[in-house]
């Protein structure tokens, strides 16, 4: 009741090709996150799914039906926008009910669905207010509520948390995760924030320059990235990349995550000087300028006292070191 197939979708704006042939399968009830740097085409892909942009070629299939020529309102989708996009002249209640009213749903049914959605998102006290009288977090909840009442086959989220402050972002992220668990609906979520992707997704689609780099579960992408781009994009702080030749390796590039390096004051593989130390309480990030490896980041769990200028030795965990070939792909 909520599957999605994207078959060889291409999109070009004039001579600029934004999507270069996307193939993707989403099964019913899955939470899929599109992640990638800005300009990678993730939002465009979402808009093609929504029907707000026509694809240049390829098919979009929702629930077995080709919707490539169906207008957005008839695709059985609902979308939550980054800028909330609430109707400024309507109350919260009418904002949520407008889509159903347009579709000719009976008033009693609209009220019932608004009741359920507003209690789910604790919006009951605000139903009579206009968007201008709400805070940013409340507005985004209304926008989510507007999507929920439509009971769509497919929920589409376009960077819904980007306009919220950090604390609210964590709360709303949690609410979206709970919503997915409760509704068991298929959701597609676009973000440039890999933390959101890791915490929410069943399946992550990493996009770069209009192409899919890798599709997989969060841990799959973390543990076995297919290439250098995915390895660098997933995980924070970013994976360290060292020129293979400098280490006397055959691989073009050696990658090791900051948390898979250990430091010792006396001996180790790479000798370096502490450039800067970030103390976060639960962990400490050290920036080391190494003779062999260049500038690397080391993440140590817990407190570690290191003064800038001190000499330390960093040692990578050999079982968790990635080797990349000249084409950027992982060497087995």
């Amino acid at each position: 009741m909520g599957s999605l197939n994207i078959e060889n979708v291409k999109k070009a704006f004039g001579p600029v090709e934004v999507l270069k042939g996307i193939n993707l399968e989403v099964t019913d009830g899955e939470f899929v996150v599109f992640v990638g740097p800005s300009g990678c085409g993730k939002s465009t892909l979402l808009r093609v799914i929504a029907g707000l942009e026509d694809s240049t070629s390829g098919r979009v299939v929702i629930d077995g039906a080709d919707v490539s020529a169906t207008p957005p309102a008839k695709r059985g989708i609902a979308m939550v926008f980054q800028t909330y996009a609430l109707y400024p002249h309507l109350t919260v209640k009418n904002n949520m009910g407008l889509g159903l009213k347009q579709a000719g749903t009976p008033a009693a049914e609209i009220d019932r669905r608004i009741g359920i959605a507003s209690s789910m998102l604790s919006l009951e006290p605000y139903l009579a207010r206009r968007p201008a009288e709400l805070s940013g977090g409340q507005r985004q909840r209304v926008a989510i509520g507007r999507a929920v009442v439509r009971e769509p086959k497919l929920f589409l989220f376009d960077e819904p948390l980007s306009n919220l402050d950090a604390a609210l972002r964590v709360n709303t992220r949690l609410e979206i995760a709970q919503l997915h668990r409760r509704l068991k609906a298929t959701m597609i979520y676009v973000t440039h924030d890999q933390v959101e992707a890791m915490t929410l997704a069943d399946k992550i689609v990493v996009l770069n320059a209009g192409k899919i780099e890798q599709i997989g579960g969060p841990m799959e992408l973390y543990n076995s990235p297919a290439n250098e781009f995915v390895a660098g994009f997933i995980g924070s702080p970013k994976m360290n990349f060292v020129d293979g030749a400098r280490l006397g390796e055959t691989a073009k590039t050696i990658g090791v995550r900051p948390e898979h390096l250990t430091v010792d004051a006396k001996s180790g593989a790479w000798m370096g000087t502490v450039v800067h130390a970030e103390h976060l309480g639960a962990d400490t990030n050290l920036y080391l300028d190494c003779e062999k490896a260049g500038l690397i980041t080391v993440r140590i769990f817990g407190v570690y006292n290191a003064e800038p200028g001190a000499t330390l030795y960093a040692t990578p965990d050999p079982a968790r070191t990635y080797r990349f070939g000249a084409d950027g792909k992982v060497l087995k």
Binding site: L52, M79, F81, Q82, Y87, L98, Q102
Partner: protein, 279 residues
């Protein structure tokens, strides 16, 4: 009171400049209104003096209301102005929406073409317009004036409104599309209310030249039936004798409707001019 942003000499200086400008701008209008309430002898005797009990005379107003069909002229002016304004705003906004919202071949050329009218005065085409109106049998009708004024007002309206329409959030329009609103509903219910201040700006810029125009009423609709106020006031301008009382009274009366329309729009107008400058 903080002195960092408000210094007394500077405040006084600013007020002096602004008051001087206000006096200069209002001077002719006040002279017209003042003299419209005076007798003929007083108008020429002391044109700058306000009416006194001795010189007070309503002869101008009684002439205007008594002679000719001035109420009817007012009606004509109002019909022409309001109808032209309505069409300029409607078609201007629709064209602006299309130019700012849809990607199509020749979009920017079309925008340029529609804006070209700002630079070319419509009066250059008077002869052709007159021929056109004669052929289509529209001479001496208000329709002729409305059509011409709509054409005259559209370029500026399209130009200003399309800039403002570009600022309306795409997400909002897309949310409407997903909720199943038609393009017309999106335009009328979502976009138009958000560009209301700029519509008021365009309305004022469009309205005043239409109300004050003498050229096209004189050429296209000079009949008694279709005379506008500005043309009607010419009645009192004779070759040998000019009835100044009546002309001043007619002009004073002609200010009123346009002033009322201006007041209605101006509350929106302030926001139109400053929007974007301050968030």
């Amino acid at each position: 009171m903080s002195t960092a942003t408000h210094s007394l000499p500077r405040t006084i200086g600013a007020h002096v400049v602004l008051l001087t400008y206000t006096v200069i701008a209002l001077f002719p209008v006040i002279i017209v209104i003042m003299n419209s309430f005076k007798s003929r002898a007083a108008i020429f005797g002391a044109p700058l003096a306000p009416p006194t009990p001795n010189t007070f005379d309503l002869i101008g107003y009684t002439t205007v209301i008594g002679q000719g069909d001035f109420i009817h002229y007012f009606q004509n002016s109002l019909v022409v102005t309001v109808a032209s304004l309505f069409f300029v705003l409607l078609f201007g906004a629709m064209a602006a929406f299309a130019l700012s919202e849809y990607r199509f071949r020749g979009n920017s050329l079309m925008g340029l073409y529609l804006a070209l009218g700002i630079m070319i005065p419509i009066r250059l085409a008077t002869v052709a317009i007159l021929q056109l109106m004669v052929m289509s049998g529209l001479v001496n009708t208000l329709t002729a004036l409305i059509l011409v004024y709509t054409a005259q007002g559209l370029p500026l309206a399209v130009f200003i409104l399309s800039e403002f329409m570009k600022q309306v959030s795409d997400d909002l329009k897309n949310a409407g599309r997903i909720d199943g609103l038609s393009e017309y509903t999106i335009f009328f219910r979502l976009v138009l209310p958000l560009v209301r201040p700029s519509m008021a700006t365009v309305a004022v810029f469009t309205m005043i030249p239409i109300w004050n125009d003498l050229w096209f009423p004189l050429i296209l609709a000079p009949s008694e039936e279709t005379k506008t106020v500005t043309l009607g006031a010419q009645l009192f301008l004779g070759q040998f004798v000019t009835n100044w009382n009546a002309i001043l009274a007619a002009l004073s009366l002609a200010i009123m409707p346009v002033l009322i329309l201006y007041v209605i729009f101006s509350r929106q107008l302030i926001r139109g001019i400053t929007s974007g400058a301050v968030k």
